[in-house]
């Protein structure tokens, strides 16, 4: 098995993270924002795995599993909120929710 | 144990006020009165101890930090506790009809504030003192903010920010003292007795003293830090004004006497000319502003500034006569100003205005209430025979020995007092305008309260000896502090003339 250089892995994670970030910043649809968030989470989780592999340690994979469950929990709450918001505003446009500021 | 119960009683009353209300509509009023009455009994029982402290209560609290539970009662605190109890009861009595909303919560706050004040007058541990200092503040803010008049939010916020900011300075000074203790002895301590033994570097002592001074001067209030007072007084409900004027302001003066002067004798002596000048400025400036007001309550509020200027002058004159005068003034001002606030509250209740431009001719309608107003206005202008006169004369006589030019200027405050007090009488009571007939004069309860206050003013004006005796010991001790700069020898008032 040829070893991938660590830099490649990191670059991949960075690219994934940036895609997610740009998605969060420019998309207005809440569903897409959530998806982009998931991308960002996965990017960081990937870095953990990478780190674990690098040091020959299982902690990285444990962390990945942890993030996975967290992401699942988070998405469950978030989707519930999204459904609720949709019922209320008939729209998933994040900018139309500005009235929710304090 | 008595001291602990003195503190606990108002706390318990505050705690149970909401419960009692379920049984009886005015249950919380009676409960507060009962608590205050019991306190009075306790005070009677505590009277006449000997030694430095008549009663002391000590316990560990947070020993690792040097914080202890240390209460102590001496003549000075005894006197002020009586003032607290008496005017606390007066506050309850005069809100009997004025406060109709959230009665239980009102009394809860009132008694909490009283508890805080009692604590302030008893605490001998600086940390404990600070806790009580804050405890009395918050309920007072609520009293103003909830039951006040139109502009109450503004006034309450202003009051809170002023006192809070200044007490932070005090906190810093307290911590500074504790750390100084640590650096000298190796342990932290907040206990007054321990801190009294500290040898502070002059520079440090001066700054720490300033921290305490500012906190107490804001409460006092001292010009130019007085601007919270007219707003707070004007917007507070009558009971709040009474509590503020009669007792809360005294905590500032008490703090100066109990902590600032003994802890930093040399620094205080250095600072005293400035403080005396500020006191004189307060006397004149307060009188001038009182003279300019159209709002009766605001007028009375500014007279407080003027009267408390006398207290500051007396305290920093640093001799026995002036200090006794200052304590006397605390008492006299407590009675006379509280009485004036009460009278204004009663007039407002009947006329729904406090504007002197719309009032006038009250004597025709309410001869009794007007008579009381006249009497209290006269007390406020320092008429001999009433308590304020003794106080002001002693202060001036004491201050004269320190600095005759300042005293001469301060004495002009007597003319200022005549100006504002008689203006109040003339514009409010005299004149032709008779707003509307058929207003009821004093009720029995009002008579009782006003009569008692008037009696107190006469009593202490004609027989001030009990008060002077009570505070003689503590004040003599204060003056005998070893570090005290030698009092300047009596100087001839002038070089040469003619």
């Amino acid at each position: 098995m040829t070893e991938l250089p660590v830099e490649h892995g990191l670059l991949f994670a960075a690219a994934l993270f940036c895609i997610g970030l740009v998605g969060v910043l420019i998309r207005r649809n809440l569903i897409f924002i959530l998806m982009s968030l998931e991308l960002m989470l996965n990017a960081t989780a990937f870095v953990f795995v990478l780190g674990g592999a690098l040091h020959g340690n299982a902690d990285g994979q444990v962390m990945f599993l942890m993030i996975l469950t967290l992401a699942a929990a988070e998405i469950a709450v978030a989707l519930a909120l999204v459904v609720h918001l949709y019922r209320r505003y008939r729209s998933l446009d994040a900018d139309r929710l500005e009235a929710m500021k304090g | 144990m008595i001291l602990v119960w003195l503190l606990l009683l108002p706390l318990l009353a505050a705690l149970f006020a909401p419960q009692v209300e379920h049984w009886r509509a005015d249950g919380s009023r009676w409960l507060s009165l009962t608590a205050l009455g019991l306190q009075a009994l306790l005070l009677l029982a505590a009277a006449g101890g000997g030694g430095d402290w008549w009663l002391e209560s000590r316990a560990d609290w947070l020993p690792r930090l040097g914080i202890g539970w240390h209460l102590g009662l001496d003549g000075l605190s005894y006197l002020l506790l009586w003032l607290t109890v008496a005017l606390g009861a007066v506050s309850v009595l005069i809100s009997w009809r004025e406060i109709r909303q959230r009665v239980a919560f009102f009394h809860c706050n009132l008694m909490l504030s009283v508890a805080g004040i009692v604590g302030v007058f008893l605490a001998l541990d600086l940390f404990l003192f600070f806790v009580f200092w804050e405890l009395m503040l918050i309920p007072m803010v609520l009293l103003i903010a909830i039951w006040g008049h139109d502009n109450r939010r503004y006034a309450a916020t202003k009051f809170f920010i002023f006192t809070q900011a200044s007490s932070l300075l005090m906190l810093i000074a307290i911590l500074g003292l504790a750390f100084a203790h640590q650096s000298q002895t190796g342990t932290l301590s907040f206990d007054r007795d321990a801190l009294l033994r500290l040898e502070l570097a002059p520079g440090l002592a001066y700054w720490l003293m300033l921290g305490f001074f500012v906190a107490f001067a804001v409460k006092l209030p001292m010009v130019p830090l007085h601007t919270w007072l007219p707003d707070a007084h004007t917007e507070a409900p009558t009971a709040g004004s009474v509590l503020l004027a009669a007792i809360l302001l005294k905590t500032g003066a008490y703090g100066l006497l109990r902590f600032s002067l003994p802890l930093f004798p040399a620094a205080s002596a250095d600072f005293s000319p400035v403080a005396m000048a500020l006191g004189v400025a307060g006397i004149l400036y307060g009188a001038k502003l009182a003279f300019a007001q159209d709002d009766m309550k605001r007028l009375v509020a500014y007279t407080s500034v003027s009267h408390m200027g006398f207290v500051l002058l007396g305290i920093y004159a640093l001799n026995g006569m002036a200090l006794q005068g200052a304590v006397m003034q605390m008492l006299a001002h407590g009675f006379s100003t509280a009485a004036l606030f009460i009278v204004v509250g009663m007039l407002q209740e009947r006329w729904h205005t406090r504007d002197l431009r719309q009032l006038g001719g009250l004597w025709t309608q309410l001869p009794r209430l007007s008579g009381f107003t006249l009497l209290f206005a006269l007390a406020s202008l320092g008429l001999p025979g009433l308590a304020n006169f003794i106080a002001e004369f002693l202060i001036l006589a004491g201050a004269f020995q320190r600095s005759w030019p300042l005293t001469a200027v301060a004495a002009l405050g007597l003319v200022g007092a005549a100006l504002y007090a008689l203006l109040l009488v003339q514009r409010g009571l005299w004149g032709g305008g008779a707003p509307a007939p058929g207003r009821h004069d004093c009720s029995r309860r009002e008579w009782l309260v006003l009569g008692a206050l008037a009696l107190a003013l006469f009593w202490f004006g004609l027989h001030p000896q009990p008060v002077l005796d009570l505070v003689r010991e503590p004040l003599v001790q204060l003056l005998d502090a070893p570090h005290h700069a030698a009092e300047s020898p009596p100087r001839l008032p002038v070089g040469s003339w003619l």
Binding site: V24, A94 | K288, L289, P384, L394, Q426, P493, G495, L498
Partner: protein, 603 residues
Amino acid sequence: MAALLLWIPLMPLLSSLLLLLAGARLGERPVALLGVGSVALSALFSLAAILSFSASDGVAWGIETLPWFSALGLEVGFSLHFDGLSAVMVGVITGVGLLIHLYSVAYMAGDADFARFFAYLNLFVAMMLILVLAGDFLLLYLGWEGVGLCSFLLIGFWYRQPENGYAARKAFVVTRIGDVALALGLLILVQQFGMLNIQDSVDQARQLWPGSDLAGWVALLLLGGAVGKSAQLPLQTWLPDAMAGPTPVSALIHAATMVTAGVYLIARTQGIFMLAPQVLQLVALVGAMTLFLAACSALVQHDLKRILAYSTISQIGYMFFALGTGAFSAAVFHLMTHAFFKALLFLAAGQVIMSLHHEQDTRRMGGLLRPMPFSALCFAIGCAALAALPLTSGFYSKDAILLQAYAQGGAGFAWWLALAGALVTALYSLRLFVRLFLGDCRTLPEPDNRPLLCWPLGILCLLALFGALIPQPLHDVFSAAPQAHVPLPVHLLVLAMPVIGLVAGIWLLLRHRDWRQAFATGALARWWRAGWGFDVLYDWLLVRPLLWLARVNRRDLADLPVQLLVWTSRICHQGLSRLQSGRLRHYAVGIVGGAVLILAVVL
């Protein structure tokens, strides 16, 4: 016997308290009984005290009743002191006071506030008695301020007219300025002696202060108090306005008793004044200036009571002049005779004013001789005594002042002023009488001759004529003035001065056919009528600046820094709250930007 002293001020004090508390519920008769009865009792006690005092060879009594307070470094007691000077004062106060109380019963009959009037009047008598009986300066100060308070309350007695209120306030505030000086004088005594007992501190001063400036300062400050209370230059402006009160009040407070308190004070502390000859000279000068200026003002007034007010100021000026020249007993003598004839004049004026339906303007009076002969007689006697025509009581006292002053200091500027004042006094007395009682009847009177009005007047007439015969036990109080020779021409001059004034006045009146116009027009007359412009001067110098200050700084400039703080934080708040747009993506950008920034800084 000493316990008797205590009851002298206590009687009217108790009656006053009773009237204040319950007077509104009593009818007129019980109120009058209480009010007059208490003063009568007090007068009786005074008489007994005076008699037994003179029987005991004039040894001063001092009694310590109760301690008032003892502070650290100052002890004060409610001590009373009774000597010849107090005896004279007490006699005048209770005697004249009783007559005026009696008169007031008739004068105030029917007034809605009858009880309040007597309560105040009794309180005044009590305070005045405390003032003159006090053996301690602080007790004296209590009486001093107390009479000021009563004066305030009684000037503003008819409180519904706003101008009465202003007059009352002016009176109190102006005298309070003097009181502050007095208080400062007491402070020096406290500082030096640690006590305020009058006799002891004067004795101490005599021993310790010769050659020191302190005596001068104390004397000067006491003089400040005295000029305030006694309406002397420069604090004289309140007295003419004080005439707004009921006439018996003007008679009792603003002529016979309270305004002479300054004279009493200086006489009482003469030991200190003797140590400060310069101040004593100042006292004489103040007295002489005042007596002349006020006499000129009295000459041109139109208002009946204002004429009398200025004449009071002028007569007290004589007393000050006498004090200043060292003729202390002459001053106190004049104080007594003046109380008699000025009370007589005021009460008679009150009768005239009542009969004319509260008309006070002398221009609308005249020809009252026929309808009101008794008043005319009273006025004639009063004016004669005021002008010091020979054989009246005023003659003896004023003669004594001028002669003793001459004997002490010769004919200085002040003495010539005083002599000229005697001339003017005769002139205005004549003018007053002529305006009221001769000529045509302008307003038809309804003479009011109730016995209660007339009897006190009759007694006062007798006193004004023969009051000089009352002996005054003052020889122990004041060191006897060294006898000096007064040349005969001076004697004659002093004697003739009022007569010259009278003759000149008659000649003037006869020459001006329309004598009502005499002294009525011209810039000088207007200036004098306005009291030499002092009111205007003070208005510009003190009142207006004070009002201006009050107006510009009503909102308290010290609050400005605080308000600035409030404004800045509010502006910042508004700026920052823009940032919270509610758009999720903006926040996200903020987070990213912040993270990038931190990373950039860290890396």
